[in-house]
Subunit: 430 residues, 2 copies
């Protein structure tokens, strides 16, 4: 029986929106947004799309009109009543009223600021300018839109059954990964795959499959909308943009050296327990930990997001031990370039030495490698970053020189201030 | 948006019917039915279910009540107006009005006769008695019901995503077969998989996938209902039951020896062209061809359904040549135990020597091998055959002693009459 109303509604549909809600975003974005709203409400920033995979000609693959339609649609979104109720009433990391009333009131009235889009050769220049706590909310939806429009371009020529078999193959692949992960004792893994997902519906499928297949070993998803709809935990803490903007705002080298700790000091005041997770690699993990104040050693854990993950985890374990902490009570969250083999390897290596968790991103929610001709659905490295704050350029070094960004002279200054020496280059897959 | 009416309708649904139409059956059944209706209208037969795979305890797997519900539902079916229109108005093998008005009038009023069901240990005894042209129409739906109830039993404990991934895997497998078959030049292949299909919906999916994936190389389906719904060719000619019943009706050895040719003589009067396909193996291919009247050599082709297919095809080619016919103008249809490798091998061997076609059955519409624990969906050998006619037992020898059936003394008599010597046993997979 055809549902006539649905069919007619579908007919009238101008676009099939890729981002259908303001909370179709990563949970940590909202936590950071609240922190920025409180601590740095007047900071002006520019965020910019950066396609690290320059061989993917996004402007040839994606129609500019379609891209504008999707971005305009996102600007029309506002927090729905149910979403607001969920943010206000839900427990996050066991805590109620994680989001304060003044923040929620502001968020309920918020619309995303304008975007600037220009084609430059085969790439798009896409930037967002304005107040930090508003502009920052563009990052995840902008990435999701570009990822999904590129997916749609690759799927466009395919037949009905060819498409069904494509998804059958992708589902089988995800399920085989889940079956392999089932064998890992005491696994703790979450979905971190919003930003580079194949599509919203596909991420939603992957999350539900993880939930059915892994049970309690699946701890939740970073995607607030999916967490709400599927009654799962929303997962995440903080990201590089906090130290990057704090650092850009520093007036001299001394303030710069202190900036990453200022970020965590503000965070310390706002959060406790599982939300006190150190992200140490923005300007080099080693130097960050060496110069960290003692109170930071009391935090719950660390997130490893660049460089060789085993080296970084061992560095953290040694650091805790040196500061008189018991590493087996600490959490190490791996979140960079993970797939099943890497997860199993890191788990085998560090289970028992620390509490190990995984934030699994692109290769959970966008592993269509080898499934279409010319590998046109292979994941690629697209980011959307704060490139300046109050007119000053931002800098990221990370533990992988291939992930560094910022003007060359500023990179050199940051390396000097943070005492970063030789780094080992790692291939950036996604 | 939920379609409320559909949901409520689903609620009220007592059973999810496995056979939803009297023409959810093989096309050749209807051709044979018309022939029997005209030539042997007073013959009384008994058909019986035979599970050759005795290690599959059907009565333990399938609830008797559910089985009765499904069989009762089939007895409630009658030809719908649209189905009647399709049978009357469609072209089959290029011919209009394949089904004569008197046959159609009878068929429009027909209901299937009663069944007799009894549990015997771990198996069911399921028999059908009555007029041949009525009872014969039970064969395909009875097999489809038992196959699908057994599938449902295996699927019952599975979770939602586990189920989805099961079908994803099965779809991927079918598609990979289709992709492999795409490489075969001048392929001609049809779906013959109704009787041992996984389910109706699955057969329907496989047929559509074959259609999209193979284009004109896919010549159609034996399933009338699917042919009608998907606007494809209905494919099929005749089966062993004709010579088996004709042979059982023979009053002496001379009549018995003539019976298989009497069948084809009746067929010759009724059909031409692509419907004149010899099925020679009921009592041994070699002897059948050696003793065949010359007019049979003028027929369009042969169907190879038991024994070593290459040997049988070569026997036919040699026979045509000996009778002064050009084998390259003749069609050889392979229909026994086919899968991709066998299809490619036989095609490579006989393309150029004859017109080669394939009737692909169980391993198209029911290949779930290895996809569930204990291989509980592996295909098995279930048949529903005429076991007696006018009180006399039927006999089938075929080119594979493992497929022989009938009382031992009658088998011996038939072997003598038809001059069947040593036969090579072949494993019966499906």
């Amino acid at each position: 029986m055809v549902d006539i109303a649905t069919r007619v509604y579908n007919h009238k549909w101008k676009i099939d929106p890729i981002v259908r809600s303001l909370i179709d975003t990563d949970f940590y974005k909202l936590l950071m947004c609240q922190s920025v709203f409180r601590n740095k409400p007047d900071t002006q920033v520019t965020f910019s799309l950066i396609n690290r995979s320059t061989h993917i000609p996004l402007a040839k693959l994606i129609d500019e009109g379609e891209l504008r339609e999707q971005l305009d649609h996102i600007r029309s979104l506002s927090l729905s009543r149910g979403e607001s109720t969920w943010l206000r009433g839900n427990t996050f990391y066991g805590k109620r009223q994680m989001f304060r009333p003044d923040f929620m009131e502001w968020f309920e009235g918020m619309r995303l600021p304008p975007y600037h889009l220009e084609r430059k050769g085969d790439q798009y220049e896409l930037t967002f300018e304005g107040k930090w706590h508003e502009v920052m909310l563009w990052e995840i939806p902008a990435l999701a839109v570009l990822m999904e429009l590129r997916s749609r371009a690759a799927l466009d020529p395919m037949g009905k059954f060819e498409l069904q078999v494509l998804y059958a193959r992708a589902m089988t692949r995800v399920w085989e990964k889940i079956e392999a992960l089932r064998e890992v004792d005491n696994l703790s893994i979450a979905d971190f795959g919003t930003r580079r997902r194949h599509s919203y519906l596909w991420q939603d499928w992957c999350v539900q499959a993880m939930h059915e297949g892994l049970g309690n070993a699946f701890t939740g998803t970073s995607n607030c909308r999916i967490a709400m709809m599927r009654e799962l935990e929303a997962i995440g803490t903080n990201a590089h943009e906090l130290p990057m903007v704090y650092a850009a705002l520093a007036d001299d080298d001394a303030e710069l050296a202190r900036a990453p700790y200022d970020v965590l000091s503000d965070w310390h005041d706002e959060h406790e327990g599982n939300l006190r997770i150190i992200l140490p690699d923005t300007y080099g993990t080693k130097g960050f930990l060496d110069h960290a104040p003692d109170w930071l050693a009391g935090w719950t854990g660390i997130r490893v997001d660049s460089g060789d993950p085993a080296t970084a985890a061992q560095t953290a374990i040694d650091w805790w031990r040196a500061r008189g902490e018991d590493p087996t009570t600490k959490r190490v969250i791996f979140s960079d370039g993970l797939d099943v083999d890497k997860i199993k390897e890191l788990h085998a290596q560090f289970a028992g030495k620390a509490k190990v968790s995984f934030g699994w991103g692109t290769l959970l929610t966008n592993d269509f490698r080898g499934l279409v001709p010319k590998d046109a659905l292979a994941p690629f490295s697209l980011v959307c970053k704060a490139v300046s704050a109050n007119g000053r350029p931002t800098v990221k070094l990370s533990d992988n020189p291939n992930k560094a960004m910022g003007p060359a002279d500023e990179i050199a200054r940051y390396k000097r201030v943070f005492g970063v020496g030789e780094q080992t280059a790692q291939q950036v897959i996604v």
